[in-house]
């Protein structure tokens, strides 16, 4: 049976591995940035944001400081960037401009109010995180629905977007309960296994994203001479 210390280290190593994969994905994207569409720019922006927040939060953890305020910031950034990403890939025709912006504004206000009045930044923002995860799962399901109504043939870029979407639904569905009950976990000593599981899901998510970006990146042409 693994001890709590073992689990802490496993979780830490997985986090480092995730950071390495994210960095690799970002470098891969930058090396071929000209060939990607806007949606990939936004998604890589989200990856870069996630990379920075995770790096800083690991740094704070090593120094024994509370890194939960970063989770509040991450939740808001994650929601805004991924909403923008889904708006881009689903297309404007399928979303009413005004209704979408009202929806984004409303959720943003709720997230901020939650961080100020309900769950201060020194605590887990379980309500906000759960809300954002449910919204992201809904986006993901909506994207699958949108794909079934598409008439044109799937390009390699669309295949990659489908893979990213699959990664999204698996990760956010799997981690939904973990974040929902994270405040409850704090009071228990056997909670680390769930965080390891969350990190594993996150690792799978980032690996699938790497594969998706790799597949969407056009291969360099070999010179004939």
């Amino acid at each position: 049976m693994l001890s709590q210390t073992d689990l802490t280290y496993i979780n830490l190593y997985i986090s480092y591995l995730i950071l390495a994969i994210q960095l690799g994905t970002i470098i891969l994207f930058i090396s071929r940035y000209e060939s990607f569409s806007k949606s990939f720019y936004i998604f890589t922006g989200f990856l870069a944001f996630s990379f920075i927040i995770t790096s800083v939060s690991l740094f704070l953890w090593h120094n024994g400081e509370n890194n939960l305020p970063l989770l509040h910031l991450y939740t808001l950034g994650e929601f805004l960037l991924l909403s923008w990403f889904y708006k881009e890939i689903i297309g404007l025709r399928n979303f009413s401009h005004l209704r979408f912006y009202i929806f984004i504004g409303l959720i943003t206000v709720l997230l901020i109010l939650n961080s100020i009045f309900v769950q201060p930044i020194s605590q887990f923002n379980t309500y906000a995180k759960t809300l954002v995860q449910i919204v992201l799962i809904a986006y993901s399901i909506f994207y699958f629905y949108y794909l079934t109504n598409r008439e044109d043939t799937e390009s390699s870029e669309q295949k990659s977007l489908r893979l990213i979407n699959s990664a999204m639904i698996v990760y956010y569905s799997g981690s939904l309960f973990i974040f929902m009950f994270s405040n409850y976990f704090i009071e228990r000593t056997d909670n680390l296994i769930f965080w390891v599981f969350n990190s594993l899901l996150n690792l799978i998510f980032n690996l699938l994203v790497l594969v998706a970006i790799w597949r969407a990146a056009p291969k360099r042409m070999k010179s004939l001479f």
């Binding site: 794909l147 079934t148 008439e151 639904i169 698996v170 799997g174 939904l176 309960f177 009950f181």
Partner: protein
């Protein structure tokens, strides 16, 4: 708690699996629909080409048998008039003018009729018709055409011959219009029930994708090839000339 997480992941995976199966099914249905549509278009094009050929043949015959023969009768009568008009020079000139005009009209009618359906093709077959066609182009001095042919025990098939002839006609017309070349090679192989046509010009070529998108000419060639159950292989690229092979599938 753990059960909840596992159920959520399982649900997500099941959803992805279901979606992939659904999308595959939809894609299959869409492909079937497109294939049916293509087949329908192909059938339409075939019947259009067939009707066009029938109409050409009818008009060519009408021109030759009806108008051509009547013009000949008028021409003969004008000759008779010419013999008795010696008293008046004015009349003589008019008769001569009309005579010339009729002569030109007969030539034009014959040319149009031949273009619509070369009698050589009907009477003497593909090779002779191609010789006539290439001679016509060569006599203009614009282009040199090398026509090579082998035919052994060729069982004449009018549908195959007219379609191969039309393919060459279309290719030559395109070469003269667009390719900026001075030489063309045509190689025809006919044996028993097998046929193979090879056409090559060393002109400036073109982007095949663009031509496929924009022109009906290439679709016409493909359709004619498919009508005679032949495979059309079209190779071209900018500055690479044009190489076309039409050969029966069996």
């Amino acid at each position: 708690m753990a059960i909840g997480i596992i159920v959520m992941v399982a649900l997500a995976l099941a959803f992805i699996l279901f979606f992939n199966l659904l999308q595959r099914k939809l894609l299959k249905e869409k492909n079937q629909r497109q294939e049916l549509q293509l087949r329908h278009q192909e059938t339409l094009l075939h019947s259009t080409i067939l009707t066009q050929e029938k109409e050409r043949s009818r008009i060519a015959r009408d021109l030759h048998d009806e108008i051509g023969s009547k013009l000949n009768v008028i021409h003969l009568n004008m000759h008779r008039l010419k013999k008795i008009e010696s008293q008046s020079t004015e009349l003589a000139e008019t008769v001569e003018e009309v005579n010339q005009l009729i002569h030109n009209t007969i030539d034009t009618t014959r040319r149009i009729s031949h273009e619509l359906l070369p009698p050589t093709l009907e009477e003497f077959g593909l090779i002779e018709a191609l010789k006539e066609l290439t001679d016509g182009y060569e006599s203009s001095g614009q282009i040199e055409i090398i026509l090579q042919h082998q035919s052994a025990d060729w069982k004449r098939n009018k549908v195959i011959e007219i379609n191969l002839f039309r393919i060459v006609q279309e290719l030559l017309s395109n070469t003269v219009k667009h390719s900026d070349t001075e030489s063309v090679l045509i190689d025809v192989n006919l044996s028993n029930q097998q046929f193979r046509l090879y056409y090559e010009d060393n002109g400036k070529g073109f982007l095949l994708d663009e031509a496929q998108r924009n022109g009906l000419g290439l679709r016409n060639l493909e359709s004619r090839a498919s009508m005679i159950k032949a495979k059309l292989d079209f190779q071209t690229a900018p500055e690479q000339g044009v190489k076309v092979t039409v050969a029966n599938l069996s």
